[in-house]
């Protein structure tokens, strides 16, 4: 009965049913006042309570302990406030979210603290022009900051980094091509060894170059030895990360190239490597950023000197990390410590430049397009007839 009456009713009323009121789109990640206010309330309450108890009532002091107590009390308050309106599951959920977010904040604070502290302490030294243009050749450890500088260490660091990059990047990328494109029986041991080498303690890398070059071949401590020690550190980093990047190149691209009749060599050179170029650049520059600050490999290899030595193949050549180590460990007068922090700031800026360069130059997965490429594709799509358009 109902089955027959339904179409009749529809025919009797041909007008469309009343349109529902326009729906408001639900924003999935919106923050509501119910979520935000308990957070602020719990935080304020915790700080106030801990200040009262910690600073005024109990015989405790110290900033570190204060903030630890604040955090614990904050978690308790927040859990209690949430429990007043929601159930146990919700309390757990909120607490987990807050704990995860505060771990992220901790990481942020750690990085910001490092950079801020080094910048703060090193500022006094780097604002003197002579810090950039002079060496420590004619400057004693007690002389003020208006004399002496780190030019020799900057030159040394750059040259040693250059040596390491020139050796490690081509060899590392080639080895990665071998692992990802050619493979074979040899690939497995190489991969295992490369993975093991990433575990090589930095000081052992220095010891190795010392034992090989300086003790066995009888050369002296110089920039080349330091560069080679850095190469030993950098090679596994670059190889492993490059292999990851090459593996992300879609297999269909390789197959397309083979289908067009290209040889393997042409496929790697014209398809695989260009596709992974952005990633490989990032990997290499990040590898540079990692090794430029290594101190331990230099301890046995570079040789400590106060003179400017631009020739990495002859005579001791100090690097920035080694200079900091010497300033703070060997001659720790107040002025030398200031210089050490200044050199630390220079080193940090170097690392930050390399790091930013890695992000700007690359940082895209294989096949990921730049903004310009995306815009061009969008334009091409628009100019085509509407029936050909793909739904995005």
């Amino acid at each position: 009965m109902t089955t027959t009456s339904a179409p009749e009713a529809r025919q009797a009323q041909p007008t469309a049913p009343p349109r529902p009121a326009p729906q408001r789109r639900i924003r999935l990640r919106a923050v509501t006042a119910d979520e935000a206010l308990p957070l602020f309330g719990a935080a304020a309450g915790a700080i106030a309570l801990v200040w009262l108890l910690y600073e005024q009532v109990l015989p405790l002091s110290g900033a570190l302990g204060f903030w630890v107590c604040c955090y614990v009390v904050f978690l308790i308050f927040y859990a209690t406030v949430t429990a007043m309106t929601a159930g146990r599951q919700a309390v757990k959920d909120r607490l987990a979210a807050v704990a995860a977010a505060s771990a992220g904040l901790f990481a942020l604070a750690a990085v910001a603290g490092q950079i801020g502290y080094i910048a703060f302490r090193g500022w006094a030294a780097v604002t003197h022009l002579n810090f950039w243009t002079q060496t420590m050749q004619a400057t004693g450890s007690l002389q003020p900051l208006t004399s002496g500088g780190v030019l020799h260490a900057v030159v040394g660091s750059l040259e040693q980094l250059g040596i390491a990059t020139v050796l490690a990047v081509p060899l590392g990328v080639t080895a990665a091509v071998f692992l990802s494109e050619v493979g074979g029986l040899l690939a497995h041991p190489v991969r295992v060894i490369v993975t093991a080498m990433t575990a090589l303690p930095e000081i052992v890398a220095g010891l190795f170059v010392y034992a090989t070059l300086i003790l066995t071949l009888g050369t002296r401590q110089d920039g080349l030895a330091a560069g080679l020690a850095l190469t030993v550190m950098m090679l596994p980093i670059v190889t492993r990360a490059s292999e990851m990047m090459l593996r992300m190149v879609p297999g269909s691209l390789r197959e397309a190239s083979y289908a067009l009749g290209a040889s393997q060599w042409r496929t790697v050179w014209n398809v695989v490597l260009p596709t992974a170029r952005s990633g490989l650049t990032t990997v290499s520059v990040l590898g540079m950023a990692r090794v430029v600050g290594e101190t331990a490999p230099l301890l046995f290899t570079a040789g400590l000197t106060n003179f400017l030595n631009a020739n990495p193949f002859h005579g001791p050549q100090t690097g920035l990390p080694l200079l900091i180590w010497a300033d703070i460990r060997i001659t720790p007068t107040a002025n030398m410590i200031e210089r050490g922090f200044g050199a630390g700031l220079v080193l940090l800026v170097m690392v930050l430049i390399l790091f930013t360069a890695a992000r700007v130059l690359g940082g895209k997965a294989p096949g990921e397009l730049t903004r310009r490429q995306r815009r061009r594709i969008a334009r091409d799509t628009r100019s085509r007839p509407i029936t050909e358009r793909q739904p995005s």
Partner: protein
Amino acid sequence: MSGMAGPATSLPGPQAAAEDRPRRITTRISGADLVFRSGVRLAGLLVLAITGLIAAFLIVRASGTLRAAGWHFLTNFQWILNSSHLGVGAVLPDTIIIALIALIIAVPVAVATAIFISEYAPPGLRRAMIALIDLMAAIPSILYGIWGFFWLMPRFIGVARWISDHLGFIPFLKVPGAYQPGNFENSTLLAGVVVSLMIIPIVASISREVFSQAPRGEREAAYALGSTRWGMIRTVVLPYGRGGVIGAIMLGFGRAMGETIVVALIISQVFTIVTHPLKSGGNSIAALIAQSAGESSPGMISALIAAGLVLFVVTLIVNAIAAVIVARSRSGLQTAE
């Protein structure tokens, strides 16, 4: 292959079909390809050779010391050069203690950070946080070291003293003797705390990668069953990532044991087994080598290289275990190969 066999199978008659065998495919490698293949294979061999050289030279150079001390090199408590009473027995335990302290602090923070990045952060923030973790790994260790030495050390004495006073009933947390600030300064604990900052990015970045690969279908299934976000993480993401996280922790442990400069800057060298991590004085193999870098008598160098070899072997073992754990885990199976 089936495409190539296609025309053959379309031949009429059962006789022909019975004789039909898949054609043997021979690929003739062109000359350029041959050069290319042998070239990249050479690079692989070179990497093998360099590593082999490292091991060979370390063993050769350490052989004098190792022959004199034998297996007792691992258990001798003294550091007397050119004798059979030379060993890392006093240094190796503290190397491990420092690494363990670093892990105890770093692992919860790193795993929570990884969860935040992969599960909670909106896409823009996620990218920024990944860059931040990378940057944290790129900050030179000597900068962590001077931060720990000049900034953290004076502020840390109070915390260490508080722990010693109030938790001193746990035997190893007590600092024996009357209170002196110097007693708390160059402690194993402080070295571990600073090293933990350098372990966080390693553990966090690997864990994040593993967490983000947790299968979407299972996440949605958890939500569909009415799970909260934390419930989903606890029942889907964490079990999925367990193997990867354990592997990451082992990698961090290896890195922490090899950490040189921070420990060498902070700790004051002693040659006794450290029983009270809060007390000033300790040692690690890497720091021992670093602090002796200036002395180049042949006996010293041989002893240092032997110590370096021990460190290398211990880290290798830890890393090999980590690799096996990762490869056997569910997340590892999908990422490998």
